[in-house]
Subunit: 354 residues, 4 copies
C-alpha cells in the first residue's frame, strides 16, 4: 500500500504534485443519495486556500475543484467521485538551482533515499498542497454526516494559549478572524505575533483543537481500529503534525483514577467527559474532542546552511511566499480529516449487528 488512500468503506485516494498539472482524488464508497452542495465544498476549500488573509502565504492558487464523476443531478450516485484541482503555479520555472539541494526538515532527503528519484519542483508530492484534496473529501463526508458538527479552531500559536475549555467558546467567532481562534482578544494577540514572526523571516508552530458533537453511539471498531486511533492516524498524516491527544490527553496521565473516571447519568451520558467521547475505542455519544500539535513551518525566509545530494554544504534561502504559521489554514484540514474518519466508521457500523 503506497499510502495514498485512507478509509475502508468511505475511502479517499489522492494524487498530484504541487507543481504538476493538477492534484486530485477519488472518493470511493460515498453512499448513493447524499445531496451534494458544491458551494459548501468550495467554501471549505477557500478556508484552506493560499492568499485568504494577510497572515498566510500570498501564493496565487484559486483552488477550484472540478468534479468528474459520481455526482448526478445534485446527489451522489454510489459510484466513485473523481475530482481535480488544477495547479495555477505549474509553469515550468527554472528549478535547477534547488534540484539537488535538500531543504532542512523537509522531505527532500527522505524521498531521495526512498525512491531514488524526486520531482524537485517545490515540495512535489510532499507539499501540503495535497491537503486541498482532503478538504474536498471531508466536505462531502460532512454532508453525508449532516447531523454531526465538526468544529476545529486554533488554541495556541507559539506560546500564546487560548486556555479555555471548548464549552466556554463561541464557535461562530472562528471564521471572523484570520487566525481562526474563537476568542477575539486572543486572536488579535496571535495575529500580531504571527506578523512579527513573519517580518523576521521566521515561522512558529501551534495547536488546533477540534470538537465533534452529536456523535451517534457505537461508532468505532475495537482493538486495532479504535475510533481515537484512526482519528490520531488521520491527524498525524497532516503535514507538520507532531502530536495528538484526545479527552484528558497527556494531562490525564497525572490524574488518579478516582478523579478521571466519568460517572454515568441515568440516561447513559456521563457527568464529566475526560474520556473524550470514546470508551474502549467506541463512541459513547458524548462530545469527541482532541488536540493536534503543528511544528513551525520548515521553510524560512532566512538564509540556512544545508547540503546537496553530493553531500556538499550549500547555502539556501526560502523564496516565494510561505506561511509563517500553519495553524490558521490547518483548521479546515483537521475538520476534513475528522469527517472522513467518522464517515468511514458510520458506514462500517451498519454491519455491526444483524
Amino acid at each position: 500500500m503506497a499510502g495514498n488512500s485512507i478509509g475502508t468503506l468511505f475511502r479517499l485516494t489522492t494524487f498530484g504534485e504541487s507543481h504538476g498539472v493538477a492534484i486530485g482524488g477519488v472518493i470511493d464508497g460515498c453512499p448513493a443519495g447524499v445531496k451534494i452542495d458544491l458551494e459548501k465544498i468550495q467554501q471549505d476549500l477557500d478556508r484552506r486556500r493560499p492568499g485568504q488573509s494577510a497572515i498566510v502565504t500570498q501564493r496565487k492558487e484559486p483552488d477550484t475543484v472540478e468534479f468528474l464523476s459520481g455526482i448526478f443531478e445534485g446527489q451522489s450516485t454510489g459510484t466513485p467521485i473523481g475530482f481535480i484541482i488544477k495547479n495555477a503555479n505549474q509553469k515550468s520555472k527554472d528549478y535547477s538551482h534547488i534540484k539537488d539541494t535538500y531543504r532542512p526538515s523537509h522531505a527532500d532527503y527522505t524521498y531521495d533515499e526512498k525512491y531514488g528519484v524526486r520531482d524537485y519542483r517545490g515540495g512535489g508530492r510532499s507539499s501540503a498542497r495535497e491537503t486541498a484534496c482532503r478538504v474536498v473529501a471531508g466536505s462531502i463526508a460532512k454532508q453525508l454526516l449532516s447531523s454531526l458538527q465538526f468544529n476545529a479552531y486554533v488554541s495556541t500559536v507559539g506560546h500564546i494559549e487560548l486556555n479555555k475549555k471548548y464549552q466556554e467558546l463561541d464557535f461562530s467567532e472562528v471564521e471572523k478572524n484570520p487566525v481562526r481562534c474563537p476568542d477575539p482578544a486572543k486572536a488579535k494577540e496571535m495575529e500580531t505575533y504571527i506578523k512579527e514572526i513573519r517580518s523576521s523571516g521566521d515561522t512558529v508552530g501551534g495547536i488546533v483543537d477540534c470538537v465533534i458533537r452529536n456523535v451517534p453511539k457505537g461508532l468505532g471498531e475495537p482493538v486495532f481500529d479504535k475510533l481515537h486511533a484512526e482519528l490520531g492516524k488521520a491527524m498525524l498524516s497532516i503535514n507538520a503534525v507532531k502530536g495528538f491527544e484526545y479527552g484528558s490527553g497527556f494531562a490525564g496521565t497525572t490524574m488518579k483514577g478516582s478523579e478521571h473516571n466519568d460517572q454515568f447519568n441515568q440516561d447513559g451520558s456521563t457527568k464529566t467527559n475526560l474520556s473524550g467521547g470514546i470508551q474502549g475505542g467506541i463512541s459513547n455519544g458524548m462530545d469527541i474532542y482532541f488536540r493536534v500539535a503543528f511544528k513551525p513551518v520548515a521553510t524560512l525566509m532566512q538564509k540556512q546552511q544545508t547540503i546537496n545530494s553530493k553531500g556538499e554544504q550549500v547555502d539556501m534561502q526560502g523564496k516565494g511566499r510561505h506561511d509563517p504559521c500553519v495553524v490558521p489554514r490547518a483548521v479546515p484540514i483537521v475538520e476534513a480529516m475528522a469527517a472522513i474518519v467518522m464517515a468511514d466508521y458510520f458506514l462500517q457500523n451498519k454491519s455491526s449487528k444483524i
Copy 2:
C-alpha cells in the same frame, strides 16, 4: 473491517476474550527464513505478565504461548504463524451480579450500544489481556528486524517525571526495577508512589517513552500512511492510551522554525533531531523517538456509583486484582507495537524502487 488486524504485509490478527478458553492470533506475512527464538518471545511475554512484581496485578496467568503453525525447524516458513495463549482464569464463576452493570470509563456501555450483546465475564474483548498477543507478534517482528533496537521505558508516573533526554539514559537499567524506569532513583520514587496509590484503592496514569535505533533510511509511505501516523495509530490502539507525540511533539509547537529545523551534516545525518527520525513521513536514519500517554486504570478498589443496563443507579466496587498503574506492564507492549509497525514498513519498502 472489524478492526482486529494491523499491518498490510506483516499483518497481525488477534482474537479472544479475557475469560474465554484462550486468546490467540495469526501473523500473516512474516517472510520465510527468519530464525525464531521461542525463549525470547516468552521473555517478552513475561515482561507483560500479571504477577511479575509487587506493583502490578497479582492475577495468576502463566501466559504461555503455544505456536500452532508457520514455524518449522526453528525458522519461519512464510506461512501464517498461528498461536494461542490459554486463559488460566477462565473458570465460570458467577458473574450475574455484574452482568448488567456498566463500569465507569470502561467499554461495557459502548460495547452494548454497538453490538447489543456482550461477554460480561470480565472485560471480554476489551480487556488489555488481548495485548499479550501483540507482544508475541512484536517479539517475532523484532527478530525479523534484528539489527534495529527498540527501547521503551517509563518516563512519568503521575506527577513524578524522569526529565532526562533518552541520550542520557542507560537502557540496561530498565529491567532492573519493577517500574521500568531507567533512572534507579526516580524508579524508586515512582515505585513508592504506586504503592501508596494502591493502598488507597486508587490508580494513576503515566507516560511511556520509546526509542528506535539503527533504523534504515526510507521506511514509511508518504501522505496518509506516514511512518509516524501508523506508529501513532498503533500506540493509540493500546488500552488506556490518550495521547501520542514524536520528535519535538507538543513542546515543538512553541518553537520557531529557525530553532526547530534540523541542520544536515555532510553525511545526511542531522545535527539536531527534533524531527524524531522522520521527515515527510519517511525515516531519515536518525533515532525515532516518541511518547505515549496512559490514563489511570479505570478499575478502582473503591466503591463507585454507576448504572445498570436499565439505567438504574447502583453501587459497585472493584474486586480481584488490578493494576494500580499500567505503565510498567505497558513497556513491552509499546515496544511490540513499534516493532510490528516497523516490520510492515520494512517489507513494504522492498517495493518502492525497481
Copy 3:
C-alpha cells in the same frame, strides 16, 4: 498480503499445516446477534471429512472444531471468532525420504522457489486440509444468511455427466449417496467409476455445480469487485480448481444476443436466467448458479518419476490414503466459499445507500 485472508467485512483468516499441531482460523466481522448452531457446523465438517465413505481417502481425522472466542451464550458477539481443529495425524514420522523430493503437479517445487524453505511433512500449508477451516467459516456464514439456500452437487466425474438443469434436480438426494450427485442413477455410475479409478491407483477430475437461491437484490460491488468475480476468485482458490463459469458460461459464447438476453417480467424477475442471477456484477434476485472444474488429484498410488531439490531424477510412489476423486468432498467446500462471499457482500451492501 500473504494471502491467508478472504473478505472485507466478513473476513476469514486461516493458518496451519497438514502435519502441524492444529489448523485454525479467525472470522472477523461476523455481526453480533447471530444464533450459532454448533452442530450444524460439525455436520458441514463431517461432509468434508476424510473417511466418510468408501470412495474418499481413509485417513483418520475426526476434524472436531473447537471455538475459542466470539461466541457467547449461543450467539455471536461481534468480536472475532477464533477456532482450531487439531491434527490427529501430526505424529512426527520419518519424512526424510520425501524431504527433498518434488511431487509432480503439487506445490512442493513452487513453495521452495518462493520461500526457500518448506514444511516437507505432507502437503504442509498447500494441503487441502486447510479447507476444513473454510467449511467452519462457511457454515457460520450460512447461519448469518439463514434465508438463502446454498446447494452444491457433483455434476460430472471424468466423462460421466449429469446433463440436467438444476431446476430438474431434487437436492434432497445429494447427501444420500457418497458421490453427492443428486441423480441416484448417475451417482451410482460415478461411484463405480471412482472405484475403478482407485483400484488402478489413478485419480480423476470432475465438476461441482452450485446454486444459490433466495438471494436479495443489490448484492455485489461494481467494476473490480463484481459479485461473480469474487465468487470466481473464491472458487479458484480451492485446491485443484482449474475453471469457473456462471450463468451461460463458456456455452454462452456461441449464442446470439437475441437468444441470450433475459427478458423482464413486470415484477423485475426475468423469463430466462442466462445471466445467472447477476447483472453488471450485482445480484438481480434470480438464482445464482455456477460451475467449478476440479482437476484429477495429483497424488497417485502408482510409481512416478520426478526430481529432487538437487535436480536428480528419482522415483516416487504415493503412500497412504488419498482421494481418487476430489469432487465428493469438494461439495461442502464450494458451498462454504459461496456463503463466505455472499456474507461479505451482504454486509457491504448495508452501506450502499443512505
Copy 4:
C-alpha cells in the same frame, strides 16, 4: 470497499461514467524508476478504442490519456500516477425516453435496486468505457514487467473456433487483422461472421485466450490469493465475461491423474504444462495460459420488449453505434488485467523471503 480498486501494492482505482466529463484513474504503488513510454500506452488504448475498424462500434472517442502526476522526466517517481481520459460524447442529449427503462441483460435494473439512483445517460458507471482506464494501468504494468510477454488473442467467435494450441501460433499476426485472431484464415471467417451478425442487428459472443511468457518463479500467494484466483477475478471483472479457465481448464476434469500430472525435467521445468504455469497458486516459471469467455453484447439493433421502473412493459430499440462482438476490443483489456495482476504479485513477492 465500493469495488473500484484492484491490487494491493500495485493498485489501480478508477472513476468515471460513460457520459460524464471524463473517466480516469490513479495507479498507486508503481515503484520509482520505471521508464514510462507514453506512446506505448496510447498504442494500447488505440487497440481498445471505438472506431478502430469496420467490425467495432463506430462511436467517436479519441481516448487520449492525460497524465496529471507521478511521472517526471520520463520515469515514475513512486508517487501516485493520476490520469484522465476526457469523454468526447458527453454532450447532454435528451435521455428522458430511456431514463426509466431497464435494458435487458444490462445493469440498469440492478443499479437501481442497489443504489436507488442512477446516472441514466448511457451505461453510466457500468459502461465498458471504464476499461480504457484499465488499459492505461496495464500498459504501465507491462513497462514495469518489461521482461515478461503478454499475448492475448481471439480464439473463438460464436461457433467459429481457432482450435490450435498457442505454441502453433504466430502472435505477430494478431494485430494484422481486425478480429485479433492470429490465424489469418480463421480471422477472415470470423470477420465475415461478425459482419453478418451486425447486419441482422444482432450480436455474438466469443473467447479470448491469453499467454504470459517469461514469468519469474515464485509469484503468487498461497491459499486465498492464489495467482490463478486473482487472474480469474481480474478477468471476471471485465464487462460481459462469463467464465475463466487456466491450464487444462474444464477439459482437464475428464482426465486421469496419470495423464494430467506434469513430469519434471531436471532443471525444474516440466515436460507438459497442463498446470498452466501455476502450481499451488504460485508460478513455476512455465508459460501461464488461460481462456476468458465473453457473452454476446446485450445492446441489440433490434426491437426488444422490456419494462420501465414502474413495472410497465415498453418496447425499446438500441440506437447509436454498438459492438456486434466484443472480443476484438477485449484483447488489450485482457492483457492489461493480466499485467496488473502480475505487477502486484511481482511487488508482493519481494517480501516473501528475508
